[in-house]
């Protein structure tokens, strides 16, 4: 991020100046698959990476590029790449850095799809992962092997809300010359910018708070530009010769942006998880109000925490901004503006109580998403994890009374009033 403009201004303007030809103030939606070459020589120059530009929308697109530059500016990174989803972003990073025989150290307390990718899918391709406690830097340190190529975790874990001590873990990774890759979806750059704490690569699900309106799926990789990929034996895919482009070394030719150049030339080219220009536009519309929304998300979250902690029907409440949370001190240090707007809580009465609560509220939406402007709820015990016993859920860090709440931007009194309806129904059930 430059020193010229502050975060709120960059949220609105980064990556776009009004179109010279049409004067369009908004970022135009370049809904095109391809781009006319002025000559065969120009086409060859683009293919050879002699000049920058757009070849085909699977690789890059002007609307998507505006979003990418905006994300790079907000995170203070060297470069960014937007793709079809957060999971696509995660897969692109792993496949760009790792090859068969390589190893990953990852947090054991992450979003299920992140765990599935590393635990079940990547081993089929010879890439194995050891899962560790994200709150224990020593455990992370001792899990690193000679063939470890990256350390991965979520700044704020989903759904357990564990907070990684990013500066401590970054120090370990730095000493071992291994990139620290963080999923920063739950914090967004508004609450915390991981590069300032020593992280090297960020992945985002743009679908959540960055987009913020539940209308478009998207993901992104932001590259800090602060990692030395120069060890050709350790990182041959980034610093060694590429199979095409005359054996280009992305590290030698693109330095701080080597990872993004590699992913664009291989991941986007060969796998093709591109983001549609229209969805890029929707996501940018969301980012324009990110600072305003995040402020309100946090205000409402703190109000809801007060409400829940003091409610007679609530058994327990979990959020890193509460002193009772085991990572509260880390959260205060690295997330001083607040630790996001996901709250987990348990209702007295167990699984049936959770189910009744969810079915009795009206304003809060019952669905499988987070980070929408609207308040969202899900009860894993009766939905995503309904097939599991209470004991099996506990093993996964979940309880059968647990409600996952994504606090929205509605009037706080309307949210609490809505919740009272749910609690009233549970009370009847408990009688």
């Amino acid at each position: 991020m430059s020193e010229n403009y502050k975060f709120d201004t960059l949220s609105l303007h980064a990556g776009h100046i009004p179109d010279k030809e049409t004067g369009s103030r908004a970022v135009p939606i370049y809904q095109t698959t391809s781009y006319v070459f002025n000559s065969t020589e120009e086409a060859a120059s683009l293919y050879n990476m002699e000049v920058g530009g757009h070849l085909y929308t699977r690789i890059s697109n002007p609307t998507v590029a505006a979003l990418e530059q905006r994300l790079a500016a907000l995170e203070g990174g060297a470069s960014a790449l937007a793709c079809s989803s957060g999971m696509a972003a995660m897969h692109l990073v792993v496949s760009a850095i790792c090859s068969s025989g390589d190893h990953i150290v990852a947090s054991s307390k992450m979003y299920g799809a992140n765990i599935n990718l590393l635990q079940h899918t990547m081993p089929r391709f010879g890439i194995n992962t050891d899962f560790v406690n994200p709150n224990d830097p020593e455990e992370i340190k001792s899990a690193i092997k000679p063939n470890t190529k990256l350390v991965f975790g979520e700044v704020i874990g989903n759904p357990g809300l564990d907070i990684m001590d990013v500066p401590e873990i970054a120090k370990i990774c730095n000493t071992k010359n291994i990139p620290l890759v963080l999923d920063a979806t739950f914090n967004t750059p508004y609450l915390m910018q991981p590069f300032k704490h020593g992280a090297n690569i960020i992945v985002h699900s743009l679908t959540k708070w960055l987009g913020g309106h539940g209308i478009a799926i998207g993901g992104a990789i932001v590259n800090g530009g602060n990692f030395d990929w120069g060890d050709k034996d350790k990182f041959p895919t980034i610093s060694g010769p590429h199979f095409a482009l005359g054996g280009i070394s992305f590290w030698e030719e693109f330095g701080p942006s080597a990872l993004i150049a590699k992913i664009r030339a291989e991941g986007m080219y060969n796998f093709g998880p591109s983001l549609s220009p229209t969805n890029a536009f929707y996501l940018m519309q969301g980012i324009e109000t990110l600072p305003l929304r995040m402020k309100r998300h946090i205000e409402n979250t703190h109000s809801i925490l007060d409400f829940l902690v003091n409610h007679e029907m609530v058994e327990w409440v979990k959020h890193p901004d509460l002193e009772t949370h085991p990572d509260h001190e880390v959260a205060k240090r690295i997330l001083p503006k607040g630790s996001g707007s996901i709250v987990a809580f348990g209702i007295k009465g167990g699984r049936e109580a959770g189910k009744t609560f969810i079915e009795s509220v009206q304003l809060a939406s019952h669905l499988a998403n987070v980070g929408d402007a609207k308040t969202l709820l899900i009860h894993p015990g009766s939905t995503t994890h309904s097939h599991l016993s209470s004991e099996a859920m506990k093993e996964g860090g979940l309880t059968d009374d647990m409600i996952r709440l994504s606090v929205g931007l509605e009037d706080i009194n309307d949210i609490t009033k809505d919740f009272e309806k749910g609690f009233k129904a549970v009370k009847k059930l408990n009688k």
């Binding site: 002699e50 790079a72 060297a78 470069s79 530009g225 030698e252």
Partner: protein, 204 residues
């Protein structure tokens, strides 16, 4: 390519093509606190058009080890020795900012035998603000950040980068951070102390 030159690992960008000493060579000289990455597009463009291209990382810059040169003359002598080592004869030198001063001094050493000198944002002297000189010594990272912010201007975060998704500021700042911490200080002092540009430009 990486060579051992004057006892230090020295990186020389060649635009993605092998160096052919029988062809005319375009030699790009980077500016203060920069390295070969400032000229990636130009290097690749001309290399793919059939020229031989070299973009050396000066000592302590980019991927090159060694101690930074402490004057423009020292930089020029280093480049001259490099051209001799690589056995390059028909050479066009393209300098950017500080690279222009180095090119002028190289012209003096080589007595007008270069094919051409091309300046990008150059001058015969480059005085440097005292605050920046001091900051480059005390906090080179901050000094780099200020130079990148100033260099790209107020709209640097808004204007579209030809490389999709690349940030002018973020990338520029990290390019400067790849150099050894003392490199910027010596570069800026070398520029500030240099006053022989007019004389060096004379025909010999």
């Amino acid at each position: 390519m990486i060579i051992n030159f004057k006892g230090a690992k020295t990186y020389i960008g060649t635009g993605g093509k092998s160096l052919d000493i029988n062809k005319m060579t375009l030699c790009f000289l980077h500016g203060s606190g920069q390295n070969h990455l400032s000229f990636v597009q130009q290097a690749r463009f001309f290399a793919y058009k059939g020229y031989s291209v070299i973009v050396p990382d000066m000592p302590a810059h980019g991927f090159s080890d060694g101690n930074p040169c402490k004057s423009i003359k020292e930089n020029a002598e280093w480049i001259n020795d490099l051209l001799v080592k690589l056995n390059l004869k028909d050479v066009v030198v393209i300098g950017h900012s500080q690279g222009c001063l180095v090119a002028l001094e190289l012209n003096r050493i080589l007595k007008n035998s270069l094919e051409a000198l091309i300046f990008v944002a150059g001058s015969n002297e480059i005085p440097v603000n005292q605050f920046l000189l001091d900051l480059s010594k005390e906090n080179p990272q901050k000094a780099s950040q200020m130079m990148v912010t100033w260099g790209h201007g107020i709209d640097g975060d808004m204007s579209i980068n030809k490389w999709p998704g690349h940030s002018h500021y973020g990338e520029g700042n990290n390019i400067m951070c790849m150099n050894k911490p003392t490199a910027l200080k010596y570069d800026l002092h070398s520029c500030n102390d240099y006053s022989d540009g007019i004389d060096a430009a004379k025909k010999y």
